[in-house]
């Protein structure tokens, strides 16, 4: 079937035509909103009064954000959560991937599937389930802790009374961190497993012949070879951790928890725009948070930068 000559695409025009749907959507829904958000950050605007009510206020919104107690609190919460959920994700995922890589052959797909499953499910459904598990008097987590606390040695480390996970400002963050950890550890296991498969086996054989033990091989061969993937994974965790919204949102009923201890910056942004109706301030805050993300990503980049030729 051939199109009439007038409609037929030449190889010269084809790329433009093929790309146009994507580019149009990208420009309208990707690029333009960003520019508009930057513009908004310098305006004072309450959306209910209509577009004409926008008033240029210069840096007022930024000053307001930087002086706002809740903004700083949300930044601290976000940073705490990013680290508390991010670090264990990788520290636990690397050994797990190593074990799976070396000991699981036939069962591998099933095991990896089990670990990956948390990542693909709805954050909302999971957060809802966990809020019932975290219930103070009846939740399975406290029941489990209570049972483990009967064991003599463990009782030194475990709290004696049921923890009020959801209402106590001190424990809402660990609860959120646990859920986020549960969700992403499998994702990182998959990443590291893929990276482990690219390490040639002869390096290990040569090391064994040189008398290196298994633990030594892990620290001197495996870990350094994993460095690029660790960098990639940590960057993803940093960016993702700083954007945490859904888990804390559901666990705190959308408000940020008692004393705002569960409020991440993304949640505060949302509240500023849709609960407090100050779109200008919310836009300014989103750009401030963006700066934080950029800085931290850059720092991560520097931390992992190769220092000269590797041995």
């Amino acid at each position: 079937m051939k199109l009439p000559a007038a409609l037929r695409l030449s190889p010269e025009w084809a790329p433009y035509v093929f790309l146009s749907p994507f580019v149009v959507l990208f420009a309208v829904f990707g690029v333009f909103p960003l520019g508009f958000s930057l513009y908004l950050a310098f305006q004072s605007w309450e959306p209910t009064s209509g577009l004409s009510a926008m008033e240029f206020v210069g840096f007022d919104n930024y000053v307001f954000a930087l002086k706002d107690e809740w903004f700083w609190k949300s930044l601290k919460n976000t940073a705490w959560l990013a680290i508390a959920s991010g670090v264990p994700q990788h520290v636990v995922a690397i050994p797990l991937a190593y074990f799976i890589h070396s000991s699981f052959k036939t069962l591998r797909n099933g095991v990896v599937g089990a670990y990956f499953m948390p990542y693909i499910t709805s954050t909302v459904a999971i957060a809802i389930l966990f809020s019932s598990l975290f219930s103070t008097d009846y939740g399975l987590i406290n029941v489990g802790i209570n049972m483990l606390a009967q064991v003599p040695v463990l009782s030194w480390f475990l709290p004696a009374n049921p923890v009020d996970w959801l209402n106590d400002p001190a424990s809402i963050k660990p609860a959120i961190a646990m859920i986020v950890f549960w969700r992403y550890v499998g994702f990182n296991v998959v990443l590291y497993l893929a990276a482990l498969q690219t390490i040639p086996a002869d390096i290990y054989e040569a090391a064994t012949m040189d008398g290196a033990g298994r633990l030594q091989q892990f620290f001197y061969i495996t870990l350094p070879s994993l460095k690029p993937m660790i960098f990639f994974g940590v960057t993803l965790s940093v960016i993702g951790g700083l954007q945490l919204f859904e888990e804390p949102f559901i666990l705190t009923g959308g408000r940020g928890g008692s004393d705002q201890s569960g409020m991440t910056t993304a949640i505060y942004l949302y509240r500023m725009a849709f609960d407090f109706n100050d779109f200008g301030a919310a836009s300014a805050m989103s750009w401030l948070l963006f700066v934080v993300v950029v800085v931290l990503t850059w720092l991560t980049n520097r931390a992992f930068r190769p220092r000269g030729p590797s041995a």
Binding site: L19, P33, F36, L40, M117, S122, L133, Q243
Partner: protein
Amino acid sequence: MKITSDRLAPWAAYVVVGVGALIMLAPFYFMFVFATHSRTEIFSLPPPLFFGDDFLSNLKILTDRMPFWRNLGWSLYVALASTLLTLLFCSLGGYAFAMFEFKFKNALFGLVMGTMLLPSFMNMIPTFMIMDALGWIDQPKALYIPGAASAFGIFLMRQFVSSSIPKELIEAARMDGCGELSIYARIVLPLLKPALGTLGLITFIASWNNFIGPLIVMRSPEMYTLPLALRSLQSPVNTEWGALMTGSAIATLPLVVLFVLSSRQLISGLTAGAVK
């Protein structure tokens, strides 16, 4: 069997990985178990560890409180539309980036890749404003149209095209007189099937689970997608936990089934993109 000092006892790996896998899967088990119990049974000591018989009554409470089946329908509709559009636009675009030379090609691709680094919260407010201006608030198209310009999608497609489709094949087709659109439809698309499968799965799952998007754009309960519907069942004083668990279980089940059927494809497709 001698266990030398530097050989890890084989069972240690099995135990650690096995316990971990159980921890990963336990919440799912409890979600389905709780879905079959009433609210008072869930919050009792000891908590239920096995299936109960309140599933149907929970379902009734659920559908009384929310137009739940409608919400399920919307989730499905938006996810399917999103997947189809994304596959179409990203495969066209990825093919264009991979196989053609044109002005601004590198700059454009760099710009698209740059937006992948942008945190999602940057778009919260502007998206709302655009949807409001377009009159798309409370409409499903606000959910599936913007996502079709997925930077990740076009990246994946371009990777796949440039690594799996030889340029000579395209050239030969051109010399045979094949039109550009025909080449795309009859040669490129069939060869792209694995990548389309992976991207399709990723897009479907992401759309199904999407919460922030609908949170910002949907206003009336009849138009809610599942995550939003579930959240609206939460209330500070009177949450119907049994119904909520049932809803969560129903929202999760399709994805679990989809995942079990396609996990190998999904995981290998994702890691192929990440390792490159």
